[in-house]
Amino acid sequence: MASAVAAPGHQDRYAGLKRHEVILLFVLIAAVAVLAFRSEQFLTTGNLLNQGRLLVEVGLMALPMTFIIITGGIDLSVGSIMGLCAILLGVFWQKLGLPLGAAIALALVVGALAGFVNGWFITRVGVPPLIMTLATLALYRGLAEGISQARSVRGYPDWFFGLGQGELWGVPTQLWLLLFFFVISAIVLTYTTFGRSLYAIGNNEVAARFSGIPVDGIKIAIYTMSGLMAGLAAWVFVSRVSTTRSDMGTGLELDVITAVVLGGTSIFGGTGTILGTALGVVLIQLLKNGLALSGVKGDGTIVVIGVILILSILVSDLLRRQRGAEH
């Protein structure tokens, strides 16, 4: 009580959140400094832009994942939805002979539908989000494998690679896409009634319901968005790597969730920002890259992600408890 009186208004209210993002920013700067020191190639425009290209898929999916985790939910199926959409994009185009543009649009619709199915079962049937999306993690990946029969699709026309491999004003094209959605999500979360409702649901779902907030509708909407963004990520991914395979995006849910949690979103719901998530996404990608450049082999870098995931939860939990003790 006393501290609130001493530090009135604006400083007080964002102290907790800002603290996390500021800490993260310092960690990021420190990491960049160390990595730049260890490898000359690291701090070059070329390398950094290329890393920017690589983080777009995770970044796109991390935005709705932030919304979902803020409400106290989780979506483990995003990697599988991405794989399913990638496969369908190829199949719609090559096997069904649809125009590529229509195939892309249809794949996005399937992504949104896959997310909607998650949201519908979670709200209307009452399946816990963890279980529902674990089941669809298997189901959607299985559909991708069954439909593709593990055969890849190649031979896309050149214009298709513009998104994944091209540049716009010297910056990878897909980075502009991510930036666009980043700004939109940040605005939605911070300034709109929808964003406010997400925090309300995550902090106290019952009170949100009692206040006339359409909780079920909002939840269905965010899981649908999550599916749609996974579809978009699939498009970017296929365009970047020039081919479609059914195992695309396997395990990507881990990167996405880690980025969100590292960004300060509480796994128990109620707090989190898009800016934090963005910092989390960037930090993870730079760490991966830096480690690879300093000689850590390929997938070995995911060890770091696992450690960071557990540590960031422990630290944020510690901070939360400390803040709780202050009150």
Binding site: I74, L76, V125, G126, V127, P128, L130, I131, M132, L134, A135, T136, L137, A138, L139, Y140, R141, G142, L143, E145, G146, S148, Q149, A150, S246, D247, T250, G251, L254, I257, T258, V261, I267, V296, K297, G298, D299, G300, T301, I302, V303, V304, I305, G306, V307, L309, I310, I313, L314, D317
Partner: protein, 329 residues
């Protein structure tokens, strides 16, 4: 229903049979028999000794891992890192075997390692109260990444004579199958007759009531994870010793197969109920489905979709059952 079966029924033989047939175990057993009969009728090669051996020998380790997983889920938690854990432990086993150490070390050290690694997860979950999904997601990536960066995916060849424990055939039945049967029986017995076994159900079923009954939640969850590591260790040894070459990678989606076996075996994902006999039967059923796809000319690539559908349907049935019961009050 499953929980009722946990008590040896004392009623008449007739009602005992009826109770069994309507339990999750009964349904699974019927499903397995129907599947074998139907697919066998369609294509006789499905029932050949060779194929049956492949089904059972090749999948017994999944049933063993599902025993520990079932306990984890009954306690109200989950472990998505079990596939990576088995991959790491199998590699440890193979590495010891080719390094010239005694073979019994190659069979036992992975079990101890499994218990130690799982104890770390269990400690974070039980005492630091980090959600199990987060801890085990992190553990998944640590184990998987660690394995690849240490071994660089090198294959382990030239495994010594006598290493292949799983392939021994006492009384004509593969050792892996013996392990599956004996461990399932022991675990089922232990979960039914030991005080600790019952406290797993209590913690997962109603944490507050368990506390009032004097059960230490954190300690129970921690021990459950250690036991889970024990079973994962045995599963890894069975897995490694059935192969002629160990690939030093994580078998893809193994964790999902193990979780599917537990859930389909009647372990309620909401905690508090389920038996290990059910999970073993479910592991057999899933393996048989996977194998049968080939024999009925369906691409095996649909297997994962079938698994996902099975989980979803079982969870929905569980929810419907609970809801019906709630209405009955």
């Amino acid at each position: 229903m499953a929980a009722t079966m946990a008590l040896p029924a004392r009623a008449s033989a007739g009602s005992r049979l009826r109770r069994f047939l309507f339990s999750q175990e009964g349904i699974l057993l019927i499903a397995i028999i129907v599947l074998f009969v139907a697919v066998g009728a369609y294509n006789q090669r499905f029932l050949s000794a060779n194929n049956l051996s492949t089904i059972f020998l090749g999948n017994a380790y999944i049933a063993v891992a599902a025993i520990g997983m079932s306990m984890v889920i009954v306690s109200g938690n989950i472990d998505v890192s079990v596939g990576s854990l088995i991959g790491v432990l199998a590699t440890i086993s193979g590495t010891i075997a080719v390094s010239g150490w005694p073979l019994w070390l190659a069979w036992t050290l992975p079990i101890l390692a499994g218990m130690a690694i799982s104890a770390v997860s269990g400690w974070l979950i039980a005492y630091l109260r980090v959600p199990s999904i987060v801890v085990t997601l992190g553990m998944l990536s640590i184990l998987k990444g660690g394995l690849i960066s240490v071994t660089a995916g090198a294959w382990i060849n030239n495994l010594p004579q006598g290493y292949h424990l799983a392939q021994l055939r006492p009384l004509g039945v593969p050792m892996a199958v013996w392990f599956m049967i004996v461990l399932t029986a022991l675990a089922a017995f232990w979960m039914r007759y030991s005080g600790f076994g019952r406290s797993i159900y209590a913690v997962g079923g109603n944490a507050e009531a368990a506390r009032l009954a004097g059960i230490d939640r954190a300690r129970t969850v921690f021990i459950v994870f250690v036991i889970h590591g024990f079973f994962a260790g045995i599963a890894a040894v069975l897995f490694a010793t059935q192969l002629s070459v160990i690939q030093s990678t994580v078998p893809p989606n193994l964790e999902l197969t193990v979780i599917t076996a537990s859930v389909v075996g009647g372990v309620s994902i909401l905690g508090g109920t389920g038996t290990v006999i059910g999970s073993t039967l479910a592991a057999i059923l899933i393996a048989a489905i996977g194998s049968s796809l080939v024999f009925i000319n369906v691409s095996p690539y649909w297997l994962r979709a079938v698994q996902g559908l099975l989980i979803l349907l079982t969870v929905l049935a569980d929810l419907a059952r609970r809801r019906k019961r709630a209405r009955h009050r």
